[in-house]
Symmetry: C2
Subunit: 238 residues, 2 copies
């Protein structure tokens, strides 16, 4: 069954503050998941909130998470308890004429649900390959795949993407009309994650070739309609 | 009273997985807080975990958070309930010869505690100035300060930095000895947040000067001893 193109709005995902910045569009959320490298996963133990940064990937309509089998994180994910996953891309700083209108341009997706463990080795291998390919497309075919021991030492979970919302800001500062003539510079400083020159492992034979395209590594999803941080459009003040 | 130079290890902050990567050093944690632009704040409501990305700053031995007075986030922070704040810097991708040794170089700080609201206008103004100066040093003196209406519409909270731990990874891939001769490239792709060319607000008079140094904007804390992501040192396999 094909997933619906919009997520339903629930009490957990409804954006109350600045609803004009919200989206429940599946394609917009997926573009954020696919660009980001890190997710922050929150869970609650005896009422105590915890949040952990982790690598992740999207596999069709699910997020893939993994953890060392003996870790507390794996134990929690394996319990089927509720998690909240936040994925945030920072696109720019917004400098305004007034302190309180300073802001940031960002794209942020949040997903709620309970993780499901993948226990069959074949399923685990697909999900783990996706984690590697999320970082560098095709990489899972250019390295040694997990062996039986490694598979046993790693638990793999998926979070079905059923309850998701996006919030984003783009465009320039939204100063009050009476502040527009103040003599303070206002505008955007675009920000992006950039890759430096790859550093080979010194233990490596000189004959091993660097993956093609590694020097042009970037995360930017070119076709994402939300990528407008560098353009100063005047958003309507909510 | 001066804060202790190391944080006590508690049941909430003790790092169990790969303890060699943990630090409870106050200076290391502060260098992470000072470099990062976004924090992920987790809280729990009726056992349901939530996590929100937000701008933040460090003010001496406290983290500053703020929220619109009418928001659910402000209501939660104002309740004095427990929060968990995660601040993560991604320094590089680690490509290994084997899929399971792929990793990331990062510096991550997590703080636990309960927020305290600042209610006196003088205190709020200091904390809000710090939020702006965290993004761009000196900026709070180069913009219109908050007025009475704005102060009323914003609640300001501080989280005392008393229960904090750091986890970080640096260095190259840690492949198994028997994999070292495999013909797959291994090494690091350094990553960093980079600023683009500032985009002035088109509503701005041409006579308004761009802040000096804005074109060289960067977050990198030069003196941070943890900044070694570009150097491939062979960490001892835990």
């Amino acid at each position: 069954m094909e997933a619906r193109s919009s997520f339903p709005v629930t009490s957990r995902t409804e954006v109350h503050r600045r609803p004009a910045r919200a989206s429940y569009d599946r394609a917009v959320a997926y573009s954020i998941f696919d660009e980001a490298l890190v997710a922050h996963v929150a869970f609650s133990q005896d009422g105590q909130p915890f949040v952990l940064p982790t690598m992740f990937a999207r596999l069709d309509d699910r997020l893939v998470l993994h953890a060392a089998s003996k870790s507390r994180f794996a134990t929690h994910l394996g319990s089927g308890a509720s998690v909240c996953v936040s994925v945030t891309l920072l696109d720019g700083l917004v400098l305004a004429r007034s302190a309180m209108h300073h802001s940031a341009n960002y794209r942020s997706a949040v997903a709620f649900g309970s993780t499901v463990e993948l226990t069959a080795d074949a399923d685990k291998l697909v999900a783990l390959a996706r984690l590697v390919d999320h970082v560098l497309p095709g990489r899972s075919l250019a390295c040694r795949p997990p062996n039986a021991l490694e598979l046993k030492a790693t638990r793999v979970f998926v979070l079905p993407l059923e309850e998701v919302s996006v919030k984003r800001r783009l465009g320039g500062p939204l100063d009050d009309a009476e502040d527009l003539a103040l003599p303070y510079w206002a505008g955007i400083v675009p920000l992006a994650v950039r890759a430096g020159v790859p550093v080979p492992d010194p233990a490596q034979a000189p004959s091993v070739e660097e993956p093609s395209g590694l020097r042009a590594y970037e995360r930017r999803t070119v076709n994402d309609p939300a990528n407008g941080s560098a353009a100063v459009a005047r958003e309507v003040q909510p």
